[in-house]
Symmetry: C2
């Protein structure tokens, strides 16, 4: 499927966005699009789109453009949106509960199959059809269900130990919402997405403080 060279992280991170925009086009009933038109919609350059896609293959047709439906399928296949990867959610606090019921996992190639929490007050409840189990059941559960993804909504301090345990239980990918900065290196074959909501919010604050109200050089009349 892919050409043999390693695809850069920047390219990968743009694929889901292409996938979304192509879905939108499809819903609008648009069947064909040129890189130029798509670029305009997405506020990127046509060059970038063509370069990105050509990391994986020639999906277009010269003189014509790209078939929207076909291209979307191709990108979906590259991302693996039909994979139904089994995922466990660790931590059923506010954020964990929201992630359990708010997201359409099937749409993103996943399938939530277990929810765990160490707090007895939270176990037993049902979230989106899945019972919250005590953390002590995690090991036996993983032996059976063999989840490849763990979604971490746990306190910073407990994160390192739980990560280690999950890796030993066969988890290959971490969607990490904890304040623990999970290292990507030294873990061959393990994929990590650290989602630091606080960092994102601080970056937003920076934008406010250092707002682009910077006047151009012209001193204006006065």
């Amino acid at each position: 499927m892919s050409k043999n060279e390693k695809v850069s992280k920047s390219v990968i991170r743009r694929l889901p966005r292409y996938y979304r925009f192509l879905g939108e086009l499809l819903r609008e009933g648009i069947t064909k699009i040129s890189s130029r038109e798509l670029a305009e919609r997405m506020s990127v350059t046509a060059s970038q789109i063509r370069q990105d896609l050509n990391c994986f293959g020639g999906f277009g047709q010269q003189g014509y453009g790209y078939n929207v439906s076909e291209l979307r399928e191709e990108i979906g296949a590259i991302l693996g949106v039909n994979a139904k990867h089994a995922a466990v959610l660790i931590g059923a606090g506010n954020l964990g509960r929201a992630l359990a019921v708010h997201l359409d996992y099937a749409k993103y190639g996943c399938r939530l199959c277990g929810i765990f929490d160490s707090n007895e007050k939270l176990t037993g409840a049902s979230l989106g059809g899945i019972r919250v189990s005590p953390l002590s059941d995690l090991e036996s559960f993983c032996a059976k269900a063999k989840p490849v993804i763990a979604i971490l909504c746990i306190p910073k301090d407990s994160a390192p130990d739980i990560c280690e345990k999950l890796i030993s239980l066969g988890v290959k990918a971490f969607w990490n919402f904890s304040h623990y900065d999970m290292p990507q290196k030294n873990l061959p074959g393990v994929t990590v997405e650290n989602v630091h909501l606080g960092d994102s919010l601080m970056a937003l604050c920076y934008g406010i403080t250092n707002s682009e109200t910077e006047k151009t050089e012209s001193p204006d009349q006065m």
Copy 2:
């Protein structure tokens, strides 16, 4: 505070991480650190740290290193973590409710001052001490409270209109969790953080499918 050249987005996005690690050091009672030691902890290069910091000023001391507490304060000031920017949350669904109660806004320079939802079933409830108000009250509320940040946890279709309205009401920054791709361009003075959780999850799935199990060239004995 800052040198006159525009600081690149890559640098800005690293600042919150520095801020977090420095906080951690402080908690550990470490008062001084060299760029080399910090780099090792953070799995980055010492060069990058020094380059990043020198976008804003010389915070270190040659032959010594950086004072942890002082450097943390400086970065905090750059980010504006003491700013207490007023923020409104739009959409009190699962994700919205989690964001209302799960985050320590004060820690990140913000202050949640209003929650709105168009669904009557959700209005009236209290989340983290704030009543959920009907969206029809948004305009009068903004006139009084003058929020500069909007946190969007709303459906894709309603997002464009609400964004436009919020901008007209003086909102300067959007923390956007909706599936709408809010444009950053064409909106001078407006800062946007699009947090596409689905994109993040798909990138994770890509990592699983295309796992780094790629053997090195050596064919191994067999």
